[in-house]
Structures are given as structure tokens and as C-alpha cells.
Symmetry: C2
């Protein structure tokens, strides 16, 4: 079905996972794919650089067309396969507007999560400060309260932009899954916990669940235990 | 024409400028608007918080619909006013794919510019490091070479995704304009210089040129002189 598509990806990376969920939702299974290792620096290999001069995953090709940015792939596939699989942009104006708003807030959400989880990866040893770590955690806390409030307002069983699963869920769910993998408390954030429970059972999400999470179901659960 | 729209904005801010260009391109002039001052912290005023709990500009309302994220506003307006003003998403598959790719690379581009220009604004005094400043400048240099290469490949007179002006230009041009405002050398980056010269003459861009740039045509031209 999707033999003319190639995806190079890394396990657990939210940008890669977005694309994988998207391909499942649009019934584009059967694409060529290769799991690469960030630890072994395979995202800087020639194979990746040939598609993606930034040396990043995901790297995605459809025939001769290259789209590597995860949000870009989502928009591209929804546009090219509008009438195939799940319709991911609602016609309803209010829902559509909310979807766009949440999608792009989702980038800030991911940045704030990454600033806490990957602090030591991003910041060289001699430049680390306890004050920055504290500020990043406080910013994440503020961010989490925003999303908890959004879900609260929409009511039980809702997706991020209303009653249907949309592009907002495709791009934001991998961030939410990483939060719980790294020990976020569903007691403290019950609406995010419910949302996580709802979407993780979705076939597209189950089919693309990070393989190293399956092998090792417990993550670094101490990382976010005090957030 | 667009009396049911309200935009709260700040002068020179790329996210605000994107929305202003978008409104011009879609022939939505006549909207309610209010210029607020970042220096006076007016983006944290109740007036903004009522629309945007993040206390950020732009803050945008269309009737009862709120979309504050600049990329979200662009997608929303293009979808709602598809047949009005400039068509900003090309039908051609290759151009459309390139547009999506460049739009989202545009976020990285802006982040790398901001990390250099606003370093002292973002990083508290006790956490600043020469090594970080140097790394940020090198990252910006690498980023600029990528965009210079993209434009080189497309040829003279091209927009970011090919022969027509698209959403990619709406969102990325304000970043490019800031680069030159802060002293980027058009000798060193001639293709970016040409692109800047092309798009700054566009009516939508002229109509939305930052008022404090008009008052004070010289920016902090030393900031990027050695990039």
C-alpha cells in the first residue's frame, strides 16, 4: 500500500512517533522503515544525511518527495490522503480552530518537557545551574496545569480538540506518553492520566508503541516524580 | 470586512508579524487591533490574559473563536478564507510538500536566531557562559548556510517553496527581516539578502512593517555583524 514511502526513525522519540501514528491512522501500513539508534549516533549517518541534511529523525520520503519535519509530515499526509483512513482535520470551525491552537501549543509543551527530561543532554557540564533546573521544573509545572485545565474543561472521554481524534492528538500524545514514562503522577494530573489511558489503547498507538518501552516497561520513573 | 476580528500585537515580534501579513494577504483589513508594549509588560495585562492564558502576543480572536499561536492562526485563516485574497497553500504536490517542510524548519530557524539575539533576555546573569554564546552563534551560522543553500537551489526570484508566495513565506519572512535588522551581512548571505529584498516590497509586508522600525530605521546592527 505504502511501498513508495520510507521512514527512518528512533524508538521513543516524540517527533518520530507522531509520524508513525499518522501513517497508521491514514492506513499507510507497509511502508519501508528502519529503526536507528540515537545512542550509536546513527541519526548522523550518511543514510540519514542523504534525506535530511539536519541529521535528525524522523527522515521521511514519499517517492521523490522529502518531508522530515514531523508536523510537516502530518499536514502533508492529511492533505494527500484526505479520504483515506481517519479524517484528522475536523470540518467544524470551532473544533478546527481548537485543533490548530492545541497543535502549536504542543510544541511549547514538548519543549518544556524536554528541557527537564533532557537537561543534561542539552547543557554541557560546565554550564549547568541548579537555578535553571528549578526554573525549568516550575515552567513544566505551569504548563502541565494548563493542559490539565484544558482537558478538565472538555470533559471526560474527550480528545484534545473535542469529541474526535485529530492532528492535535497525533502530535501531542507522544509527549504525554513520555511524561508518564518518566514518572509523572496520574494522581496529581488526573485528566492527563485519563487522556493517556484513552489514547494509548488506540490501534494506531498500540501498533507504533516504542519497541524499547515494550522490552523494558519501566522508564526512568524518578525523573518527574516531584513535578 | 474583518470587524469581528481582534488582534493584540507587539511591534517587530515575528509571531505577531506573521499574523499581520496573513491578514493582509487574505484581504482581512479593517480588523480591530491594539499595539501593546513588551517593555511595559503589557503582554501580561488582564486584557491579554482574558484571550491568552499564556500572556503572549499575538492574541487573536475571530468572533468567539480564539487562536493565539501564530502558525495556528495562519492555518486557521487559510482554511476559513480559502477563496479570498492570496491562495497560500499550493495545489502542486511538490511545492506543497516543500512548503510544509520549510514552514516547520522555520521554527528551528527562529529559535536559533532568538538564541543569539535575545541571549541576555532569556538567560539570567549568573547563568551566562561565553561557551554557550559561541555555540549559539555557530549553530546560527550552520542554520544560515542551510537556508542560503535552499534559496541558491531554487534560483533567483524564488520564494521559499517555489515560484509562488506561500505560508512558508508568511511565517519565515519576519525571521529573515529580523536578521537584517540586527546586522546580518547581505554580502556574506547574498541569497537571503535577495529574498529579503524581494519580499519586503510586497504590499502585505509593507502594510505591516513594524512601526518602531519605521521610526528608527537602524536596528542593533552590531548584534550579528560577525555571524
Amino acid at each position: 500500500m505504502a511501498k513508495d514511502m520510507t521512514l527512518l526513525w528512533g524508538s521513543g522519540s516524540p517527533p518520530c512517533w507522531r509520524v508513525q501514528i499518522m501513517l497508521e491512522e491514514k492506513k499507510l501500513q507497509g511502508y519501508d522503515q528502519k529503526l536507528l539508534s540515537f545512542e550509536k549516533m546513527e541519526h548522523k549517518s550518511q543514510e540519514v544525511l542523504d534525506i535530511n541534511p539536519r541529521g535528525q529523525l524522523p527522515s521521511f520520503k514519499h517517492g521523490n518527495i522529502v518531508v522530515n519535519e514531523s508536523y510537516g509530515v502530518c499536514f502533508y499526509l492529511e492533505s494527500q490522503f484526505k479520504n483515506q483512513g481517519t479524517k484528522l482535520i475536523p470540518d467544524d470551525t470551532d473544533q478546527q480552530a481548537l485543533m490548530y491552537q492545541r497543535m502549536f501549543e504542543g510544541l511549547t509543551f514538548y519543549d518544556k518537557v524536554a528541557a527537564v527530561i533532557y537537561y543534561e543532554y542539552y547543557v554541557p557540564e560546565g554550564e549547568r545551574h541548579d537555578s535553571a533546573v528549578k526554573r525549568n521544573k516550575e515552567a513544566l509545572d505551569t504548563e502541565l496545569k494548563l493542559w490539565e485545565g484544558y482537558l478538565q474543561k472538555l470533559g471526560a472521554g474527550s480528545y484534545l480538540a473535542g469529541p474526535s481524534f485529530t492532528l492535535a492528538d497525533v502530535v501531542v500524545f507522544p509527549t504525554v506518553a513520555n511524561l508518564f514514562r518518566f514518572g509523572l503522577s496520574a494522581q496529581r494530573y488526573p485528566k492527563l492520566g485519563e487522556y493517556y489511558g484513552l489514547v494509548k489503547e488506540r490501534p494506531s498507538v498500540k501498533a507504533s508503541w516504542p519497541p524499547h518501552w515494550l522490552e523494558n516497561p519501566k522508564g526512568d520513573e524518578d525523573t518527574l516524580k516531584d513535578v
